[in-house]
Amino acid sequence: MVSTSPLLHFAENDLQLIALSFMSILYALKIRWVLRFPASTDRQPPANPSLTDGARGARYSLLAVAMPWTIGSNRRHPLLYAQFVIFHLAVALSIAMSFAIPYAPRWIAGSMVVVALQVLFVAAAAVGIVRLIRRTADPYLRAISSPDDYFALIMLIFWFLFAALAAPNHGETCRLIYFLLTAFFLVYVPFSKISHYLYYPLARWYLGRTLGHRGVYPLKGA
């Protein structure tokens, strides 16, 4: 069993729960706020119900992230898509690890699991650095970037690096910093563009529902 100081124990457990609860409450308020706005619907019957409809269009739209061939930019820039996958996979697994370390340490006890996680987190940090350089150097991206865009990237780069250091689940300092960063991340995201993942299913659902209803989704040919 891995020993922890009272401070680390607090950071692994109570602090995470407080931060998670805070984030969840704010997200619930955000969703309630979004739902207060009226949703547009199509009054006319679907264009081609034998081939597609709103539900099918919405499913297609939601799954578009896993179908890179459906979006022109992803077809032309597979490397960028690969970066996207690495980055977001790392986010998901780092969040999962923040639960695994205090509550299910056996899940990340195997050396191969640890190495795989570390490779992923370091790769994601590298992707983050590449993205930061791109956002700073590319005039198109600079023009649409706010301080939040830069800060979010910087924060995640450090988070991934400390996730890589925390993955072996020993060493007080790295784990403490990792959990402090995680708590900060959870508290910060409702106020940041990072919360785009909250709106993603809604935006894709509504777009897909409309375009499926009208016979545009799923996309055909090009």
């Binding site: 949703a39 649409i144 706010s146 940041s192 709106y199 935006a203």
Partner: protein, 442 residues
């Protein structure tokens, strides 16, 4: 202390909060500033090095207002997330330049956004906000006024409209030596009520004449309404939801008044989308009369043998331009292609096509905004390259705005091509039967 706000800016902010829908709110909130939309936009491709044309930048011009007034972080720490309100009429003019002059609402960015941000929807909303405070481009304002006052965008008087139909009818009777040739007006209980773009009355009745010819030889039981015949909609372009609702309502009312069994629409991208899909939503009425494009009507005629065609009469290489509204908002993709394969011998696709096609640059009311013409024509470079790569001599399209837009592209970039609509090609391929057709049963 906040700077004092001009009257128009204040009214615009108040109106924004009334016009936002859930779809717009999630689109405004979901942008991750990833920049993937950049290379999807014909304006960006054709204005290299200018980031103010990127979809995300254009969206942010609207988004910053939303954040300043409706987003938590934007209200508390606006500079952190790029939130900023508007205070002066000069800032509203800048916004007008973006939403009218840098975007045709073609939706190509929307379909390529990983997040599903639909810029076209809230860009139209922003146009409507500016229209509400009287900041419309002059050309759009004039045409909107004409549509309000006369029911059609070209201020064609009822007398001129009916006289045009009469002389077209006489011309066709003479051409085909067939006194039974009719362009019926206000015929009750017709199977088809045909609606048109006023351009066909005012500038180029050829397409109307050809449609009438096709209906006649198909033995169609059809009519045109004396009122409610304009299927175009400048409220669609300006974001004025009241006008946008009023215009299709006139068409729906005409169809109900005449007891028409189906509304068939001329080839017009925004008009088709407005009448078939958006109009009922804007007007808050469910329209029970089926509606279809004349492209589908003609295809069905050919498939069923109601008209016979000789495709060898259209033997030049032809490519097809998918209108943004038809392709990206209405799914009318395969029917034009199927018809083209039946009426011409050498149909070749342009690439990309279908929902990934590039805008003709004439959409979104752009043709009525000459102040943005040079910018628009520069943005057409990618379209010109697309056309040229096909090697086609003819580009067919199912949209009157696209006809004009493509004509401008062809002229500006000196391409050796002409623009036609599918009704032109179908009429050209039409085999005129020896005996007059019988009108199908009422």
């Amino acid at each position: 202390m906040a700077s004092p706000r001009s009257y128009k800016a204040q009214k615009l902010i108040e109106r924004m909060q009334q016009k936002l829908t859930r779809q717009m709110v999630v689109s405004l909130s979901a942008c991750a500033h990833c920049g993937i939309c950049n290379e999807q936009c014909h304006y960006v491709i054709s204005h290299p090095g200018d980031p103010t044309y990127t979809p995300a930048y254009k969206a942010d011009c609207i988004r910053k207002l939303f954040k300043a007034h409706l987003d938590w972080t934007g209200r508390a720490v606006p500079w952190w997330v790029g939130a900023r309100s508007v205070y002066t009429d000069a800032e509203l003019e800048q916004l007008k330049d973006v939403v009218f002059g840098k975007c045709t609402n073609c939706r190509r960015c929307s379909l390529n956004c990983p997040m599903g941000v639909d810029l076209a929807t809230f860009n139209r909303m922003a146009r409507g906000l500016l229209a509400y405070v009287g900041m419309l481009p002059e050309g759009l304002a004039h045409v909107s006024k004409d549509q309000w006052e006369t029911g059609n965008q070209m201020a064609v008087s009822p007398e001129d409209y009916l006289e045009t139909l009469e002389w077209l009818e006489e011309d066709l009777q003479s051409t085909y030596n067939d006194p039974s040739f009719r362009i019926p007006v206000d015929k009750p209980g017709a199977d088809v009520m045909y609606t048109i773009n006023p351009r066909e009355v005012k500038f180029d009745p050829r397409s109307l004449s050809q449609a009438a010819t096709i209906f006649h030889f198909a033995g169609e039981n059809w009519t045109m309404p004396s009122e409610g015949w304009d299927m175009t909609n400048f409220g669609f372009f300006t974001g004025d939801d009241d006008l946008a609702a009023a215009l299709p309502s006139r068409v729906y009312d005409a169809a109900e008044r005449l007891g028409a069994k189906k509304i068939v629409m001329t080839e017009c991208g925004h008009g088709y989308r407005s009448l078939k899909w958006e109009g009922p939503n804007w007007a808050k009425r469910t329209v029970h009369t089926p509606m279809e494009s004349i492209v589908v009507t003609m295809l069905n005629y050919v498939r069923s043998g109601r008209i016979r065609v000789d495709k060898t009469r259209n033997n030049l290489p032809i490519t097809y331009h998918d209108s943004c509204n038809l392709a990206r908002s209405c799914g009318l993709l395969e029917e034009p292609r199927e018809l083209l394969r039946l009426i011409c011998t050498d149909f070749r696709e342009m690439y990309p096509n279908r929902a990934e096609n590039y805008c003709c640059t004439g959409g979104g009311g752009a043709l009525m905004m000459p102040e943005y013409s040079s910018r628009r024509l520069q943005s057409a470079k990618v379209k010109a390259e697309q056309l040229q790569a096909t090697g086609a001599k003819i580009v067919a399209t199912s949209c009157h705005n696209c006809v004009e837009g493509l004509l401008d592209v062809i002229s500006h970039y000196q391409l050796d091509m002409e623009v036609v609509q599918l009704v032109n090609l179908t009429a050209n391929a039409l085999i005129v039967p020896e005996s007059p057709p019988r009108i199908s049963a009422q």
